[in-house]
């Protein structure tokens, strides 16, 4: 590209992915070059040492979420974990019923998996969130039918960072004998997870949202009461038959180390990041027409999702090329699709198109935030001066009364 960005932009997109922590990368390397054995090899030391490393990592993942290491199944990431959990449970328990429950704000890995099950004949209820992004438990209770077999609700939303009431949902589903799956890809290292207390049956994890490598994840499968799954990947019967395929020792070691660091450092890290997030929000306080999307209290400290009204998201991102952030407006096709998560909250199209997701992380500094605030204020000002919608707002025109020609 001829217009190469001279300096790398400040990374504020930690919910898309995180860099691998250098401590994690260092631990992984020997398992690629020297200790390269197949953990399934039982006949020599190469295999034995790899197996030991895999089991140590399994213990670390289990420790972060307080479960038995035997309940952890390695996968390629949270998308595969979601597929294995939802399809696996639905297929195994299909003789009990065909009804499944989820929310409209779930990740596509859950929504699209459920769509596939609908094509197979299952019925799915998609619950609306409240305007703050959270699930109303009464709506969940009302949606439960005698033939409901599974509910899938994420712990932390990837776009708006809100934390769903997983403990309360678990009480409801357990009482009704419904399998409860939770996608926790965005939760590890940010929210304390205690699977000994939570009545969760299946939980998906990803390494790369928590300073581990991409391409590795895990699925928690409860043993007491036991949850059964139909395998989706067949082969050598690895992972007790839940998921065949040679284990990627180096990736697994990386995930184990990333989750070990998360367990030890998350309390201090969340406090530091929370202060930076509050500073970022405080920087926007004197601006007109800005809206925080999602509840600010029931939320991870890393996330700030803001709509800057009357400015379109893609032009905003283009105007902030010194920052690496995400927009709720996916302008990648001829038909512009505003964020389905923000639409589910009841945000109108303008606000959904005008949203920016800032996600902070381990390597975000105070100087980064100061720079971001200054830059955003300047660029929003410039774009609003260019916006006919801002002009109409300033002239007192109610945009809802305007007859727009949709194109």
């Amino acid at each position: 590209m001829s217009l190469a960005i001279r300096k790398k932009p400040i990374y504020l997109d930690y919910s898309a992915t995180t860099p691998v922590d250098p401590r994690v990368a260092e631990k992984m390397i020997p398992w690629l070059t020297e200790q390269f054995g197949n953990p399934a090899s039982r006949s020599h030391g190469y295999g034995w040492e790899a197996e030991e490393a895999v089991e140590n990592a399994r213990v670390e993942v289990a420790k972060l979420v307080n479960c038995d290491p035997k309940e952890i199944v390695w996968t390629s990431g949270a998308t595969e974990s979601d597929n294995l959990a939802i399809k696996g449970a639905a297929h195994f328990y299909k003789t009990k019923g065909k009804h499944l429950i989820t929310m409209k704000t779930e990740h596509k890995a859950v929504l699209d998996t459920l769509r596939e099950l609908e094509r197979e004949g299952f019925e799915v209820t998609y619950l609306d969130p409240e305007p703050d992004g959270l699930l109303d438990l009464d709506k969940l209770k009302a949606a439960i039918r005698p033939d409901t077999i599974l509910a899938s609700i994420m712990m932390v939303n990837n776009e708006i960072g809100v934390i769903q009431p997983i403990a309360e949902i678990g009480e409801i589903t357990r009482a009704k004998g419904i399998i409860f799956h939770v996608d926790s890809a965005q939760a590890t290292g940010k929210v304390a997870i205690d699977l000994d207390k939570l009545k969760v049956d299946l939980m998906s994890f990803s390494a790369h949202k928590t300073y581990g490598p991409k391409g590795i994840g895990a699925l928690y499968v409860r043993r007491k009461p036991r949850v059964r799954l139909e395998a989706q990947m067949h082969g050598g019967g690895h992972e007790k038959g839940f998921r065949s395929g040679t284990l990627a020792t180096h990736q697994i070691v990386g995930m184990g180390e990333a989750f070990r660091i998360a367990r030890l450092e998350m309390a201090a890290e969340n406090e530091r990041i929370g202060k930076l997030r509050d500073k970022l929000l405080a920087g926007f306080r004197d601006m007109e027409e800005i809206y925080v999307n999602g509840d600010l209290e029931q939320r991870v400290p890393h996330n700030l999702n803001v709509s800057f009204n009357f400015v379109e998201g893609e032009s905003l991102i283009m105007g902030m090329k010194e920052l690496a952030v995400s927009s709720g407006s996916a302008c990648t096709s001829a038909s512009l699709e505003p964020s389905y998560v923000l639409r589910a909250l009841g945000r109108n199209d303008e606000l959904a198109h005008s949203s920016i997701r800032f996600t902070l992380g381990r390597f975000t500094t105070e100087a980064d935030i100061d720079f971001a605030v200054k830059l955003i204020k300047e660029r929003i000002g410039k774009l609003r001066e260019m916006s006919p919608l801002w002009e109409m707002y300033k002239d007192g025109v109610d945009l809802n009364t305007v007859q727009w020609a949709a194109h």
């Binding site: 302008c331 001829a334 198109h353 260019m386 020609a405």
Partner: protein, 138 residues
């Protein structure tokens, strides 16, 4: 999304941003698009007695390509007669800015904005001025 240098130039240094007073003599306004679609363009032209577009201004809510398309057409219409301006096609805009296929709708919207401003001009000032424009073009 990788943008062409021309799009980035128009986005970073937009030409003719602003508004005319709608009540001013010779001013006509075209507003196209919808917030729901992520693009709204307002294009204004100021036409003199001879039917020539003396000045043009725009405001756009939309992506970088939408801003660049509207900025470009304000440059193009200036000095043209109303009828000449009406011949500007989206394909010319898309070619000039090297818009990728997913951004062609931005150039279509810019063409629509010119047409809407011209329609407003003809409505406000009658067909006589349009004829004057035609004569000037000949």
């Amino acid at each position: 999304m990788a943008y062409s240098e021309k799009v980035i130039d128009h986005y970073e240094n937009p030409r003719n941003v602003g508004s005319f007073d709608k009540a001013d003599e010779g001013v006509a306004t075209g507003m196209v698009g919808a917030p729901a679609c992520g693009d709204v363009m307002k294009l204004q032209i100021k036409v003199n007695k001879a039917g020539i577009i003396e000045d043009a201004k725009f405001k756009t809510y939309g992506c970088g390509s939408a801003i660049a398309s509207s900025s470009l057409v304000t440059e193009w219409v200036k000095g043209k007669t109303v009828d000449e301006a009406a011949t500007i096609r989206n394909t010319q805009i898309a070619a000039e800015l090297a818009l990728p296929p997913v951004k062609i709708h931005c150039s279509i919207l810019a063409e629509d904005a010119i047409k809407a401003a011209i329609a407003d001009y003809r409505k406000k000032y009658g067909a006589g001025d349009a004829d004057a424009g035609k004569k000037a073009a000949d």
